[in-house]
């Protein structure tokens, strides 16, 4: 079709473009462009009024120059003028220029909006479409303000042309995405939903995108779309390839619409209505059946379109996760694709199977493809496909195949692409830990990891192996032997030296009986690596040496000599020098007993989530496993280790935020405290750690001091008073802050200081006697009523029963959040003042938000997650009147105090606030998203909370709503 000849070629433009193309150098191009810009500028400024054609031509040239990558700072006005031209092509170029180059120049926007308004009112469908395209392309807030009210009307009006309806639907979608607050479907809802029934396939295709987006936000209101979508889908699926005429694409009826319909259905749980559900299952079966039919065409377009529908159907089946039969069929279908000659299909099959692996119905079926997937990992030529294969292996791993999968991943690692090595390392480390039945296998695996890909083994990985070795005495001897052997290699990775130094320092004695690994041999082996290592590793080795002095007194003189040498004791690095000096002194001054106490074997690390998992989550490399799956993994991993170790304590040991890992791992902080050179830099929480560390080392006898949450009160008989009526209000005061006065009356003042990290917290209660007389029989009781008992673990020691007049007593509560909770613990205080018994019960301000870990994320991530949490029960919403002035700085402060990250530039409306955080409990983590939309005029707020757990969304919503 010689379309161009009837086009509106602009000779000047064509000449200019070919001039540019003929430029030999960048400089020549810039010169030519500058000449043109000068020419256009003079034309625009000239006295002679330009005709429409010239104006169009010059605007088009400017656009071309801009698209080449040059800045354009004029011509906007001329483009706006073109908008009101009667000539279609002039108008069209004007709109194109605006769409590409619009800036928020307010004066201009007003003019543009005016032109758009005129075109929308023109009743000329081509003009209307142009205007709608422009709004959809620009999609600015100003345009939303001007047109969000008008477009729904155009969309549903009976006399609107089909093409205009299509543009209107997608235009509205764009406005809804940028300014959801301005688009109100309200009365139009049902008519919009019924567009799914429209005669015109194009209208349905466009409208369904809008409906899908709206359904995600308001599932209830749009629920009726389910049955309409199912019947539409059913009609398409069962139609012959010619029925739909031009909507049939390479013998596939309406592939785009089918995919969109299947996508819409994924916004909802399976249909409740049996008939609808039956019809849908039938559709899905038909789609699966068609995959087995011989292709109607050899063209790749035919198979792509057909398979696009198939993959979308499989996504829906996985989303429902309730039809075992369909899930297994889907899995078999994907299994076929795994060996398909089309790389694209293999890639998608691996990707899709990854999600199937997490369904209980299809996990086993997925596992049957293990050989194929391993083969893909080895032989695929495209790294992105290999990446998918590695993801799938990770997802399908369980106890039955862990050894095989880990071995395969390890061998793949030797040749793996650099881009995915780190991720593979993390995955291997996690799987090895998660499925370790025998820990020598685990130790071997991690040491292999270090050997093969030492550079990609992050600190988290080697910390973890040490934590596990320390906590499991059945593997310590083996670990010592293995690292000793690994260190024999002439060149070994520095991470190996770290692990070796640490483990030999702790457990070298377990292999010292063998003359081949006698203490001195061990020391010499370690020391032979010393000079090749970086400062942190050397520091770690020095600590290992001092531990050697304790373990093997016969090495003392050798080691002291090393410490005394100038290269140590006068080392220019302060840390190394200090260690050398202190260790030397320690070894010469301290008695054997003192030495033995200070350098005692490390106490078991308190159990905690593997930091490797956190790291993998953060990386969330391509297609990494879904978060929920990781959570499962974590839970399992946790119980695994706990089962054996048994030691469960509140504190976290090697905290990720500690700057000097070696110091932390070695517990130097607590050790140093013992010999009186504590740095004193510890915050409240660091103290928690070190204290729990020393407490555990000192003796287990201290346990009896740690009364559980219900100490028998000295005053025994009386029941605790019911909580004060104002206790809820007092509680709410502390939602966004951690310190302050909780309660005060004429006798007593209770102050609170608290600090939280992860799922742990420590609270200091200060009870002040405001009178000049003694409080007698002073006792406090913390109780967790009902369910809370299993959700929160609070430990404290009883306070002194006598509080002098004017004195203050302090009580420390160690808090561990086991799982999410709603109620607040109760604090009962009883004492006698002048003979009368005082009995007060308050709610302790420990609320679920205290265990928030802020999460920074970009706008896209936020909205993606927001969408993922779109089920009705995941959301809690409140609309309420402001009780405080709506000062945005104050609001920000409160939201930050809540513990979430306040995300800037995420919400398209700058007035709104969005926050994200993860609630850390021992059992699980709950990701939460918050959105607060203030309406200053109405003095109202709308607060929306979404989280993966209904109870959490609800509770947070209640708590937060009280704050503003």
């Amino acid at each position: 079709m010689p379309a161009v000849s009837k086009g509106d070629g602009m000779r000047g433009l064509a000449v200019f473009i070919s001039d540019i193309r003929n430029c030999k150098s960048k400089e020549a191009e810039i010169k030519r462009i500058n000449k043109e810009l000068a020419n256009i500028r003079s034309k625009f400024k000239g006295d002679k009024a330009l005709d429409g054609y010239s104006k169009k031509k010059y605007v088009c040239k400017l656009l071309f120059i801009f698209l080449l990558g040059h800045d354009i700072d004029f011509g906007h006005m001329e483009a706006v003028n073109l908008l009101s031209s009667n000539k279609y092509t002039e108008k069209q170029i004007g709109y194109l220029f605006i769409s590409v180059l619009v800036n928020s120049n307010s004066e201009l926007i007003r003019l543009i909006n005016n032109a758009i308004k005129n075109d929308l009112a023109s009743r000329n469908p081509t003009f209307m479409c142009l205007a709608l395209h422009c709004i959809a392309n620009v999609g600015s807030r100003e345009m939303a303000e001007a047109f969000a009210g008008e477009i729904p009307r155009i969309l549903v009006a009976g006399d609107t042309m089909d093409s205009v309806k299509q543009s209107a639907a997608l235009c509205l979608l764009r406005l809804y995405k940028t300014s959801p607050d301005l688009v109100h479907m309200g009365e139009w809802t049902s008519r919009v939903v019924h567009l799914l029934n429209d005669q015109h396939m194009g209208v349905v295709t466009a409208a369904i995108s809008l409906i899908t987006c709206l359904s995600q936000k308001n599932p209830e209101e749009f629920k009726t779309c389910i049955s309409l979508a199912v019947s539409r889908l059913s009609r398409i699926v069962s139609s012959a390839s010619t029925d739909l005429q031009d909507y049939t694409y390479y013998f596939v009826p309406a592939p785009w619409l089918s995919v969109k319909l299947l996508r819409l259905l994924q916004c909802y749980p399976p249909p409740e209505d049996g008939a609808v559900k039956g019809r849908l299952v039938e559709c899905l079966e038909t789609i699966l059946n068609k995959a087995q039919e011989p292709p109607k065409s050899k063209k790749v377009q035919h198979s792509n379109a057909k398979n696009a529908i198939l993959f979308e159907a499989i996504s829906l089946i996985i989303h429902y996760d309730s039809e075992p039969n369909l899930l297994v069929r889907a899995c078999n279908q994907l299994g076929q694709f795994l060996q398909h000659r089309e790389t694209n299909l293999r890639y998608l099959a691996l990707e899709s199977m990854c999600t199937l692996a997490s369904s209980e119905f299809s996990h086993e079926a997925v596992k049957t493809h293990i050989e194929t997937v391993i083969n893909a990992l080895k032989t695929e030529r495209d790294v992105s496909v290999r990446q998918r294969a590695a993801d799938l292996l990770y997802a399908m791993c369980d106890r039955s195949n862990a050894k095989q999968i880990v071995a395969e991943m390890l061998s793949y690692l030797e040749t793996a692409d650099y881009s995915i090595r780190e991720e593979i390392v993390l995955k291997v480390a996690i799987l090895a830990e998660k499925y370790a039945v025998d820990y020598s296998w685990y130790v071997d695996t991690i040491l292999n990891l270090i050997r093969i890909a030492g550079d990609y083994v992050s600190e988290e990985v080697w910390y973890r192996v040490i934590q596990i070795v320390i906590n499991r005495d059945d593997v310590q001897g083996y670990a010592a032997k293995t690292v000793f052997e690994a260190l024999q290699a002439p060149a070994c990775h520095e991470n190996m030296v770290k692990v070796g130094g640490y483990i030999l320092g702790e457990f070298g004695n377990l292999i010292a009986g063998d003359p081949r690994s006698s203490p001195l041999v061990q020391f010499n082996l370690l020391h032979s690596k010393f000079h090749l290592c970086s400062v942190p590793t050397r520091a770690l080795l020095l600590s290992a040496y001092i531990k050697f002095i304790n373990l093997f007194p016969e090495t003392k003189s050798t080691i002291q000599e090393v410490l005394r040498s100038d290269s140590q004791i006068r080392n220019s690095d302060v840390e190394l020098q200090q260690r050398a000096v202190e260790y030397l002194k320690l070894s010469s001054i301290a008695s054997t007993d003192v030495l033995a106490t200070v350098l005692e074997e490390m106490p078991p690390f308190p159990e905690r989530e593997s930091s490797i998992l956190a790291k993998l989550k953060k990386k969330k490399g391509p297609g990494a496993v879904s978060v929920s799956e990781l959570e499962d993994g974590k839970k399992e991993a946790g119980s695994e280790i706990n089962g054996g170790g048994g030691a469960e304590s509140a504190a976290a040991a090697s905290n990720a935020s500690t700057p000097s890992p070696s110091a932390d791992l070695l517990g130097l902080r607590s050790g140093a405290a013992g010999i009186g050179s504590a740095t004193g830099a510890g915050s409240l929480l660091v103290d928690v750690f070190s204290e729990s560390g020393t407490a555990a080392t000192a003796s287990s006898g201290t346990d009896e001091n740690f009364l559980s949450s219900t100490p028998s009160s000295a005053l025994g008989s009386e029941d605790p008073a019911p909580a004060l009526p104002e206790s809820d209000e007092l509680l709410h005061k502390f939602v966004c802050k951690n310190n302050g006065v909780l309660f005060e009356n004429h006798l007593l003042q209770i102050g609170i200081k608290s600090e939280y990290r992860q799922n742990l917290g420590r609270m200091y209660l200060f009870f002040g006697n405001k009178t000049s007389m003694q409080f007698i029989g002073f006792s406090t009781t913390v109780t967790c009523p009902g369910e809370l008992q299993s959700q929160l673990n609070i430990q404290t020691k009883p306070v002194e029963p006598l509080v002098e007049g004017g004195a203050q007593v302090q009580q420390v509560l160690n808090i561990e959040c086991l799982s999410d909770f709603t109620e607040a613990p109760l604090l009962n205080i009883r004492f006698r003042y002048g003979g009368t018994l005082q009995n007060i019960t308050l709610k302790l301000p420990i609320t679920i938000n205290k265990f928030f870990q802020p999460t920074e994320m970009a706008s896209q991530d936020f909205f993606q997650r927001w969408k993922q949490l779109s089920q009705p029960q995941q959301e809690a919403q409140k609309i309420f009147k402001a009780t405080h002035p709506m000062d945005s700085e104050v609001l920000k402060g409160k939201l930050l105090g809540l513990g979430t990250a306040l995300l800037e530039n995420v919400d398209p409306n700058p007035e709104n606030f969005v926050c994200a955080g993860v609630i850390q409990t021992k059992a699980l983590q709950v990701g939460c998203l918050l959105r607060l939309e203030p309406n200053a005029q109405a003095q109202m707020y709308r607060l929306t909370l979404r989280s993966s757990k209904e109870s959490v969304s609800k509770r947070l919503c209640e708590l937060v709503a009280e704050q503003f």
Binding site: A3, D8, G9, S209, T343
Partner: protein, 175 residues
């Protein structure tokens, strides 16, 4: 939803850019540079999809030109591949055996056709007939006499591989 579509040549020259999400010019340039580099570095038989940032990239080469789309996590890769193909078909039908030069010299037409086909990152009208009807109607509305036979440039300018969309040509090369 599609976030953007880029057309670029084998030499890395950007021929068309369509953004369905608001981004600064600087960010757009950065994305373009990064993606062009990534895609051009890939070998012919590799798969048409790749993960990039938190998006999925779907691309396909037609003769000298790469068509590259960025879609979101839940979007369908294969149907996006066919979005690209349908767009190529539309260009082909409109220009008649379209080649890179048509898109260079009539870039505005390429944008108009795209707007009729995709709007706001979603398929608006997938019928080839209907899209072309809309464009032709627009062409009929124009009444400028200065008509230029742009096709001649195809002959006069050497060194450009032409991509022709018919049954046995370049289209299959990368299919």
């Amino acid at each position: 939803m599609m976030q953007f579509m880029l057309l670029f040549s084998r030499q890395g020259k950007l021929r068309l850019q369509k953004w369905y999400v608001p981004l600064s010019d600087k960010e757009k340039k950065k994305i373009t540079r990064e993606l062009v580099q990534t895609v051009l570095a890939r070998k012919p038989k590799m798969c048409s999809f790749l993960e990039w940032r938190d998006l999925k990239i779907v691309y396909k080469r037609y003769a000298s030109l790469y068509f590259c789309c960025a879609i979101e996590d839940q979007d369908n890769e294969l149907i996006t591949l066919e979005i690209i193909h349908r767009y190529v078909e539309l260009l082909d039908k409109y220009f008649g055996s379209v080649c890179e030069l048509d898109i260079i010299f009539n870039f505005e037409k390429a944008y108009f056709i795209l707007d009729e086909f995709l709007l706001g990152g979603e398929a608006q009208e997938t019928s080839k007939k209907n899209v072309l009807k809309a464009i032709e109607q627009a062409d009929l509305l124009q009444e400028d006499p200065a008509v230029l036979e742009v096709k001649m440039f195809k002959i006069h300018l050497p060194g450009l591989s032409i991509f022709i969309l018919n049954d046995k040509s370049a289209l299959q090369a990368n299919g």
